[in-house]
């Protein structure tokens, strides 16, 4: 290893990673007067770089990629979104064990994936904290809903979340700001759901519709995924970190790829060593405490790579559970062309993405179902901004050329409605990540190897989604298209970057991964076609015709659970404050501490947990306990 440059300053807290968890810890600590050094593996975010409000013709290739890659089946890059990452990063491979299928989406930018994510903001229900108690599967959290509820409150008041008070047990109410009106397709979905005994309610999105902390209210341009120049939606970068930097308590080091944690004889972390990506040099920052928020799998990787004679299995890993119980969300999507929408008077349907969602409605009926855990439904539709590939579905259907083809495009525009199921996966012994014994990244840091397996609970849940979505869409007269897009899984070809139609709330980032057209004009955005270097090609699932089209592991980008919390140090690396049982000045504040992965998109719980962890850490620092 090259010579290491180490500063003499000892920082109170070093935070590794600047997404939802790292951003929250940084903001909360700074506002409590604690100084923070924040390491981010990517560059600083420049608000002027956000592509909100750009038209396709503002870019010469209009989203097809600078070399027209959309037409030659090559990745186009993320032309319009604030994504800054993907499942393939140059020089940063990962591997997937034979027989497993997993893709790992990473962002390298201040704010991480919060810059582009779907902003679905759901509280865990009371029963979500005690799944083992409920059905003897999985594990209970060491905390309850009441422990986290005050932090959900704080997060909602700080961020701004749309929603309505509904009193549904599976979807606890929060402190909401007023939602936007339902769109026309939302009204059809809501009524069709009602006819099937299902209740659809206002979407809960991390968007402020009222002025808040100097942030103007949402201006309803629909381009949340490109980053918000008015900071009206939530991203940790512009909502938490930039304001925190103004306190004078925060120093950010960008382009800092953490390599390992350095410990002293007492086993405490004394420094974080990292690669300065600007020149490849090795550096160290010294600390009194460290908070890992590098994303669930990166945080696990960092612990596993922090080996020493004292910690031969990696740091905080006497239990051997670091990397274990990796979970993603179960994904499945279906869309339909709805003739009732054809010829409808056009209106500006942009809004803030989804305005309607369906909370899990059968939480008390699992004894009658052949799967143990629930899912919610995200709704997409409307007149999206035209882009590359937007109208190919209609074109492929009608073929020909000239005015008849153009009329078909016109008739089809805005008539597609998409439903995306997002379900709970039960943790299992076969889904985990570990350090690959051979492969290293461009800086010589050992990479992760993934193992993945869905159980019958998830597969049966997808079968239930299929039946339900078909019923809802057919109730409104919809003509079902082939399952498509991210979450469509097997048989679903990825679509191109721009997407004018259904954009369910937790939409995929505009992936820009060019691929063959699905024949489905408005499918939810496509999933990345391939994983990292070293990953075998193909999908094991494709070999089994009886397997429902479940999303591939990691595709929903909700990977959590690799450094879980629990009261027993023998089975959990972290205690109930997300503090390592074995290393008192080490905390984890991303999705890694999750004990289960409820059918609630993880970001809200990451923020609430991180907030709680930050307050606990500040108090422990004050008491001199860390």
């Amino acid at each position: 290893m090259a010579q290491v440059t180490s500063s003499t300053t000892v920082h109170d807290v070093v935070v590794v990673g600047s997404g939802a968890g790292g951003g929250t810890v940084t903001n909360v600590l700074a506002n409590m007067g604690v100084s923070v050094l924040l390491l981010e593996a990517g560059p600083m975010l420049n608000i002027a770089d956000l592509k909100e409000h750009m038209w396709p013709y503002n870019v010469p290739h209009r989203g097809a990629g600078p070399k027209g890659q959309a037409y030659t089946n090559e990745p186009t890059g993320f032309t319009y979104s604030a994504t800054y990452g993907g499942s393939q990063l140059d020089g940063e491979p990962y591997t997937v064990a034979p027989g497993s299928d997993f893709s790992w989406f990473r962002s390298r930018i201040l704010g991480g994936r919060t810059n582009h994510y779907g902003r679905v903001t759901l509280r865990l229900a009371d029963y979500d904290f005690k799944p083992y108690t409920t059905d003897s599967l999985g594990f209970d959290w060491p905390i309850s809903y009441n422990d986290l509820a005050p932090y959900y409150d704080k997060a909602e008041q700080f961020i701004g979340v749309t929603g309505s008070i509904e009193g549904i047990r599976s979807a606890p109410d929060g402190i909401f700001n007023p939602p936007g009106a339902l769109k026309a397709h939302d009204v059809l979905v809501q009524r069709a759901c009602a006819k099937n005994g299902i209740r659809a309610v206002a979407a809960r999105q991390a968007v402020t519709t009222v002025a808040r902390n100097g942030r103007p209210p949402c201006h309803y341009c629909g381009q949340c995924g490109r980053g918000c120049t008015t900071a009206s939606n939530y991203a940790s970068s512009y909502v938490q970190i930039f304001p925190a930097m103004k306190t004078g308590k925060v120093q950010v080091i960008a382009n800092a790829m953490a390599r390992e944690l350095v410990t002293d004889a007492s086993g405490k972390v004394t420094a974080v060593s990292y690669v300065d990506k600007t020149d490849g040099s090795e550096k160290q920052v010294r600390c009194r405490s460290v908070v890992l928020a590098a994303s669930a799998c990166e945080s696990a990787r960092l612990l596993l790579n922090s080996k020493s004679s004292q910690h031969p299995q990696g740091l905080a890993n006497s239990s051997g559970k670091v990397g274990r119980y990796l979970m993603d969300t179960v994904g499945y999507s279906m869309s339909a062309t709805v003739p009732a929408l054809s010829g409808m008077p056009h209106y500006n349907s942009d809004g803030y993405g989804s305005h309607l969602y369906v909370p899990w409605w059968l939480w008390d009926k699992h004894k009658d179902l052949n799967f143990a855990r629930g899912y919610h439904i995200e709704v997409g539709g409307g007149y999206g901004m035209p882009g590359i590939g937007s109208f190919q579905g209609a074109v492929n259907r009608v073929e020909g050329y000239g005015i008849p083809m153009k009329q078909a495009i016109r008739d089809n525009y805005g008539t597609s409605i998409g439903l995306s199921g997002r379900g709970e996966m039960i943790p299992n012994e076969d889904s985990y990540c570990e350090v690959d014994p051979e492969v290293k990244d461009r800086w010589g840091i050992p990479v992760l190897r993934f193992h993945w397996k869905w159980s019958d609970h998830e597969l049966n849940q997808v079968r239930h989604m299929q039946q339900t979505f078909r019923a809802i869409l057919e109730t409104m007269g919809g003509q079902i298209a082939a399952p498509g897009g991210r979450g469509g899984g097997r048989g679903a070809a990825p679509t191109t970057a721009m997407d004018t139609g259904p954009q369910p709330g937790s939409q995929a980032p505009q992936t820009g991964q060019a691929g063959p057209q699905t024949g489905l004009p408005n499918a939810p955005a496509g999933q990345p076609a391939t994983g990292g270097r070293g990953q075998r090609a193909g999908n094991a699932a494709a070999a089994d015709p009886n397997r429902p089209p479940i999303s591939r592991g990691g595709a929903i980008i909700h990977e959590v659970g690799t450094v879980r919390m629990g009261d027993d140090p023998k089975t959990s690396p972290l205690n109930k404050f997300c503090q390592a049982h074995e290393v008192k000045n080490l905390f984890v504040a991303d999705g890694a501490p999750f004990v289960s992965n409820a059918d609630k998109n993880p970001t809200h719980t990451i923020i609430a947990l991180a907030w709680r962890t930050a307050e606990y850490l500040a108090e422990e620092l004050r008491k001199g306990n860390v």
Partner: protein, 198 residues
């Protein structure tokens, strides 16, 4: 590019992008490309970079068939679709090959119909050929290369048209603008509910 053209383009980009300040993200090279494509979409001349003059003129005619002028509303030619395709083909050897071979196939096919090349054919001859290669149901060993090429040309022409200012206005997309509130689309809801029977 002349200085005047560059200034015009910068001003145009500036007007569009000033509100968000993204101009600095658009590289000089992109502006250069954009300038030429913009010229073409304003009815100006465009010097093809990937295709020969003959190939380019054939492609322009093809895009005119794919999205023609409709009741006086401009189509793919006014939207500069051929220039956009040529620009991408100049950056992508695979695309260039698709167009070079495909356009040659069109000329050959027209020769079999006793015309010198596609452009020299009568409108009836041109339409007769397109009516064959615009549909998968006509697949045959003889026609397959033409069908494959036309499918790509149609796909790119449709994309080029609907991502242009002209096409976005044509399809009547009303978004991408700030609003003070999100009003209920009452008229649309009434229409959809009535037709859905819900």
């Amino acid at each position: 590019m002349s200085d005047i053209t560059r200034r015009d383009v910068l001003r145009r980009l500036g007007l569009t992008l000033m509100a968000t300040g993204v101009l600095d993200r658009v590289s000089a090279e992109e502006i250069h490309h954009f300038a030429q494509a913009a010229q073409a979409s304003n009815g100006g001349s465009y010097s093809p970079k990937a295709l020969t003059d003959h190939e380019y003129r054939t492609l322009v005619r093809l895009t005119d068939f794919i999205i023609p002028v409709e009741n006086g509303k401009p189509g793919a030619v006014a939207a500069g679709a051929a220039a956009w395709i040529d620009m991408l083909a100049s950056e992508n050897a695979q695309l260039k090959s698709i167009y070079t071979k495909g356009l040659a196939w069109m000329d050959d096919a027209m020769k079999k119909r006793d015309a010198k090349d596609f452009l020299s054919g009568t409108p009836e001859q041109q339409t007769a050929l397109l009516d064959l290669i615009a549909f998968r149901r006509n697949a045959s060993l003889e026609l397959d290369p033409g069908i494959q090429f036309f499918t790509m040309a149609r796909r790119m022409t449709v994309d080029a048209f609907y991502t242009s200012e002209i096409g976005i206005a044509d399809i009547d997309y009303r978004g991408n603008r700030p609003q003070a509130s999100y009003p209920e689309p009452t008229e649309a809801i009434t229409y959809a509910l009535k037709r859905s029977g819900l």
